[in-house]
Amino acid sequence: MAKRIETIGLSCFYGTTHAVDDVNITIEPKSVTAFIGPSGCGKSTFLRALNRMHEVVPRARIEGRVLLDDEDIYAPDIDPAAVRRTIGMVFQKPNPFPTMSIYDNVASGLKLNGVRRKAELDDAVERSLRGANLWDEVHNRLSKPGMGLSGGQQQRLCIARAIAVEPQVLLMDEPCSALDPISTLAIEDLIAQLKDRFTIVIVTHNMQQAARVSDVTAFFNLRGPGEPGVLVEVDTTQRIFTNPSEKRTEDYITGRFG
């Protein structure tokens, strides 16, 4: 069920600003791929291009192709909303819907997509909350507002909401950077469990986190000052962190910059 993503010559622009240039990468199904690199090098921009969230910003556009199991998601007759139903996203700052309860938050994606029967929704909500390791903590207060949870719980709520629609791929944009260390650990454990069902791509600032959770790591960096970000090196996590091929990668890993 989980799909493969392949990008061919993908470049991202905000108007005339060239943010990311010519990235070629293949992300295998049911793996965890981490994007690392210094701030501002385009990792998040690139991630958002994978589920067509990049174009939500006015005047943002891409060049190149993104293939989801050989289907180009940017083809002119493809509806971006359909892409986003298949490729889900969890954001840096937890963003549960403020006017909805926990239950409604998790069910929101399902309801939007036409699931109406209460029994089905109940099932799906429980499944998703269990999948996000949140069920035990909230199962007796599902009607309480989603905003009432702690930061770490809110983020797991957002993960539950994302996986409730059973996407093929889950994109996570620095999901732990706004959380405390304990919640971070909880989410990292969660990622290890989720990878059996979904293809996961995670952008992270934290190299140790990348080393802990991912199978493959991709290192992004600016080509030069004032230049767009590029994919410097991508390899198994093991090799990236022990024996990278590029010097820039090694410099970043060892903390000489970034």
Binding site: E71, I73, D77, I78, D79, N113, E120, A124
Partner: protein, 349 residues
């Protein structure tokens, strides 16, 4: 595990979509349909046609979309059309009003009109609004001279000294004041100044009413601007040993001054067009009355109000020209306030 009818079952991302030319083609087709309907059946009347054509347009494309793309996309298209219709229905009449005023107003609008008094009667062209312009200017000036300092001081009190119940109450009362209809303000001046203190109608009486309307606007605008001044600025000043009152007057208010000026201009723009209170307590005058404190004075809004109802075409022409003058002043004030805001360091609108 999810129901067969839900979109989640559709695992492919490629779904049927209306081609791009579909919208234009459908629109053209529907307009043609409407024309045919009206040409060959009993439907008649411009209004009917517009209503039918619009309905067909707004509903037609989503209907086609429903068949091809599904309910969700169809609803999305309907919503987009609906907001566009709302925009057109809103902006068009409003621009039309202003445009019409400009068009009719230009007929009698010239320098003589602005500078002569109401000397031509209803049966002749000529004459002007000099007395009304002077009257309104004086009334607004007096109102501002009172409202601006007091308003600023109230705003300062609320932001710099106010963390107690009294200042919350004052804020609340200022809010209440923004809701007072202008005619009630006029009635108050009538009750208090004219009837109570036995004064006669005068420009000053109108100015009092205008103050009541202008004051809360100044307070609100100033308050917002003062709040935007970064706390770091205040702290830097105190750290230099400067007294609080000097800090306020020499540091904080100047920092907020652009925004406050904008607020003042908008307050003036608002009261300059107020008719009701002026109608009640300022009276009217065909000639310039330079003394705002004694005797009836003319004013632009009342001039328009009265000439609009006259059965004489000359009077009506002059009313349009006066309305044009009023709009011009308001627009100039408004645009200046906007330009000033652009240069404001503290906030961008």
């Amino acid at each position: 595990m999810t129901s067969a009818s839900s979109d989640l079952q559709r695992r492919t991302i490629r779904q049927p979509r209306l081609p791009r030319w579909a919208v234009g083609a459908t629109a053209a087709g529907l307009v043609a349909l409407a024309v045919l309907l009206f040409a060959f059946t009993g439907f008649a009347g411009t209004v009917d046609f517009i209503v039918v054509a619009t309905l067909l347009l707004v509903l037609g494309v989503p209907a086609a979309s429903w068949a091809v793309e599904g309910r969700r996309k169809a609803t999305d298209r309907l919503a987009s059309s609906a907001t566009l219709v709302a925009l057109v229905l809103t902006v068009l009449p409003l621009i039309f009003v202003v445009g019409y005023v400009v068009k009719r107003g230009l007929e009698a609008f010239n320098w003589t009109f602005l500078t002569s008094e109401d000397i031509a009667g209803p049966l002749a062209a000529g004459g002007g609004i000099a007395q009304a312009v002077i009257g309104t200017l004086q009334q607004v000036l007096i109102a501002s001279v009172i409202a601006v300092p007091i308003g600023l001081l109230v705003a300062i009190y609320i932001t710099e000294y106010g963390s107690n119940k009294f200042s919350t109450a004052v804020r609340f009362l200022v809010d209440v004041m923004t809701g007072i209809p202008s005619i009630v303000a006029g009635l108050f001046v009538l009750a208090f100044w004219v009837l109570g203190a036995h004064q006669s109608a005068s420009g000053f009486a109108g100015a009092i009413a205008l103050t009541i309307i202008e004051l809360p606007i100044i307070v609100r605008a100033s308050e917002e601007m003062l709040r935007l001044v970064p706390g770091a600025l205040r702290e830097a000043s105190y750290a230099l040993g400067i007294a609080k009152w000097k800090t306020i007057l020499r540091v904080i208010v100047p920092a907020a001054s652009t925004g406050i000026t904008t607020g003042i201009m908008l307050g003036i723009a608002r009261v300059i067009g107020e008719t009701a209170p002026v109608l009640l307590v300022v009276g009217n005058n065909s000639f310039i009355n330079w003394n705002a404190f004694k005797g009836n004075q003319a004013s632009l809004p009342v001039y328009i109000f009265q000439h609009a109802q006259s059965s004489s075409n000359y009077d009506v022409d002059r009313a349009w020209a006066a309305a044009l003058t009023l709009i011009l002043v308001v627009v100039i004030l408004y645009v200046s306030a906007r330009l000033l805001t652009r240069r404001n360091r503290l906030v961008g609108w």
